[in-house]
């Protein structure tokens, strides 16, 4: 069953007088429980695709559906609560709030729920436990290493038990060891907790951990590995290869 359905999506930007077409009719399905890596050179549209799925950006035309909800048709007022419920987002630059402790950073998405303080505490403790940082609850981001910051960021993304976890270059700022720790953690979230993950990456090692890989170039899906159904820009579905 497809958790994410992208249908004939066009996306263009206007830069001064110039119109830049990012996508010209992209179609894609992401199965529930899958771990998809989006790869491609800079400017190929990876992050834009992630933003469209998260409802942070709107397609020029076409539809984006996530968990049966048509994200592309939602109004701004509907998108925020929908994102709070369904999306966990991890940034390349961690983007933790520097004035909050690890605990408080992870608790942020839960402030938007009706959970009691005690329930929030249980969830935050659990999330920090999953990422192996239960002993860093009162540390501020400046007191953590890059890898630890990113793990806190992942804890923040999973704490509200979202339908989908989206990661934009999560290992881009990390050294090799920290990258491996983060990727192992993502693998575990996918394997043990059955979380659907979409990761944008330049890192071939990161892509190796995914169950399927999509390559984008100039807004077109040119190659896929392990993707069961793919139709991009009018081209035939990409070959399925190297499926995990």
């Amino acid at each position: 069953m497809s958790l994410v359905e992208i249908r004939d999506v066009h996306k263009s930007f206007q830069r001064d007088t110039q119109r830049i077409d990012v996508f010209s009719g992209i179609t894609l399905d992401v199965e529930e429980g899958s771990f998809l890596a989006l790869m491609g050179p800079s400017g190929s549209g990876k992050s834009t695709l992630l933003n469209l799925i998260a409802g942070l950006d709107k397609p020029t035309s076409g539809t984006v559906r996530v968990a049966s909800a048509e994200v592309s048709a939602m109004k701004p007022g509907q998108l925020a609560p929908w994102r709070a419920r369904h999306i966990g987002f991890v940034f390349q630059q961690f983007n933790l709030l520097p004035v909050l402790t690890a605990y408080q950073n992870v608790e942020l998405p839960l402030l938007l729920t009706r959970l009691s303080k005690r329930e929030r505490e249980e969830r935050v403790t659990l999330a920090l436990g999953v990422v192996g940082l239960e002993d860093r609850v009162s540390h501020y981001p400046r007191q953590l290493s890059g890898g630890q910051e990113q793990r806190v960021s992942i804890a923040r993304a999973i704490v509200a038990d979202p339908t989908l976890i989206l990661l934009d270059e999560p290992t881009g700022q990390l050294d090799g060891k920290s990258s491996q720790e983060v990727l192992t953690l993502l693998r575990r979230l996918n394997d043990e907790f059955r979380k659907t993950i979409v990761i944008v990456t330049h890192d071939a090692h990161a892509a190796e951990r995914a169950t399927s890989v999509l390559h984008l170039e100039k807004g077109n899906l040119i190659r896929a590995t392990g993707v069961p159904s793919l139709r991009a820009s009018g081209e035939p579905a990409a070959t399925i290869a190297g499926a995990r």
Partner: protein, 380 residues
């Protein structure tokens, strides 16, 4: 309330800036409350005055004296039950920099006509009996740590020389408008030292009924109309109100300065709030990505402005209230009953809320309308 730790953490991000902003707001509201209290105190002074007392001054102005011989002629007017007189002295104390109100009075008649000035019987008697005795307000005694029996030397400004008095009595006013920052001494003694017997600054007359006030005043003024020292007589309240009228433009000026100060601080606060919000563009975008809606972010920024404004208001308005109460400030006796009124606190609080809205609105709207993708791309 769930967002309060986030709001407080944001305010703690630049502690010095937050403290300075709160201090600015507190100072502005302190000044506002102080200036407003000057205005309300002057207005209260204008309303003070017994309906049973008339004040008679020289028709040309209070700085022109009246003959002391008028006392008996006032007393003879039907309806007048008592007469007293006083003179402004104007002295300085200590190193010559300490100033407070000083009057030369006729002790016995003055205390009879002003029963609001409560003096223990033995002290009253001692004050009346001794020619160089002084009667001092309770707060003035406390201010300088004076004791009964102590000698106090004033340097005369209008009437030069060192003037030494022995404190024989302390009065406590039952009406705050009387004030207790005043030193009074014998009018006879002043006249004697100045070698100018027979001069009074103004007269206070006790009358039988407020209904007769106009008639008595008219009769007195007509009586001295063609003399070398014509009089102008009116109720004590009208006399005080005329002083308030003299302050009139000052009141307007103070009110205007108060508002100007608040407006200036508003610009400072708004600037600080906008600077803080601009610095956090990335964080606002991140919060939106997490799922914080426009309304929540608007509320968070407004709450930050509210915490600054309310903390500033509590410190500024509360500080003014407590400070003036604790120090018993009276502007050297010129502003008796100086106390921040509840109405001033209410207006100050409204000003603080206005400050919150005006300073928080722009950054709050900006945070709410921030396009996430653009913001993330700008700072990435």
């Amino acid at each position: 309330m769930k967002f309060l730790p986030l709001v407080l953490a944001n305010l703690g991000r630049h502690k010095r800036r937050t403290i300075l902003t709160i201090t600015s707001v507190a100072l502005a509201l302190f000044l506002f409350a102080s200036l407003q209290t000057v205005v309300t105190t002057i207005a209260a002074g204008a309303n003070f005055g017994s309906a049973h007392r008339l004040v008679s001054t020289h028709a040309t102005g209070i700085v022109f004296p009246l003959p002391i011989a008028y006392a008996n002629r006032f007393q003879a007017v039907p309806g007048v039950q008592g007469v007293t007189w006083a003179n402004w002295f104007g002295g300085r104390y200590g190193d010559g920099k300490r100033f407070f109100a000083t009057f030369a009075i006729d002790p016995k008649s003055y205390l009879e006509i002003y029963p609001e000035m409560v003096v223990p019987a033995d002290q009253k008697e001692a004050f009346i009996r001794e020619r160089t005795a002084a009667l001092v307000g309770k707060h003035l005694m406390e201010t300088f740590g004076w004791k009964i029996g102590q000698n106090v030397t004033l340097q005369g400004t209008i009437f030069p020389g060192d003037w030494t008095f022995t404190i024989r009595g302390v009065y406590v006013p039952t009406d705050p408008q009387i004030g207790d920052d005043v030193l009074m001494f014998h009018h006879d003694y002043m006249e004697e030292r100045l070698n100018r017997p027979g001069i009074a600054g103004w007269y206070v007359l006790k009358i039988d009924s407020p209904d007769h006030a106009a008639t008595i005043a008219k009769r007195i003024d007509e009586q001295f109309k063609n003399s070398s020292s014509p009089t102008k007589t009116g109720t004590e309240q009208a006399f005080n109100a005329s002083f308030a009228t003299m302050w009139g433009n000052v009141s307007l000026l103070m009110g205007t300065i108060g508002l100007a100060v608040v407006f200036a601080i508003l610009l400072v606060t708004a600037n600080a709030m906008m600077m803080g919000a601009r610095e956090r563009t990335r964080e606002v975008a991140v919060l939106k990505t997490i799922g914080f809606g426009d309304r929540a972010l608007f509320g968070i920024v407004m709450l930050e402005a509210g915490v600054i404004a309310i903390t500033g208001a509590v410190i500024g308005l509360g500080g003014a209230k407590l400070l003036y109460k604790a120090t018993h400030f009276s502007g050297g006796g010129f502003l008796p009953g100086f106390d921040v009124k509840p109405s001033t606190l209410v207006v100050g609080s409204v000003v603080a809320i206005g400050l919150m809205l005006a300073s928080g609105l722009v950054p709050a709207v900006r945070a709410a309308r921030l396009p996430v993708v653009t913001a993330l791309r700008q700072v990435a």
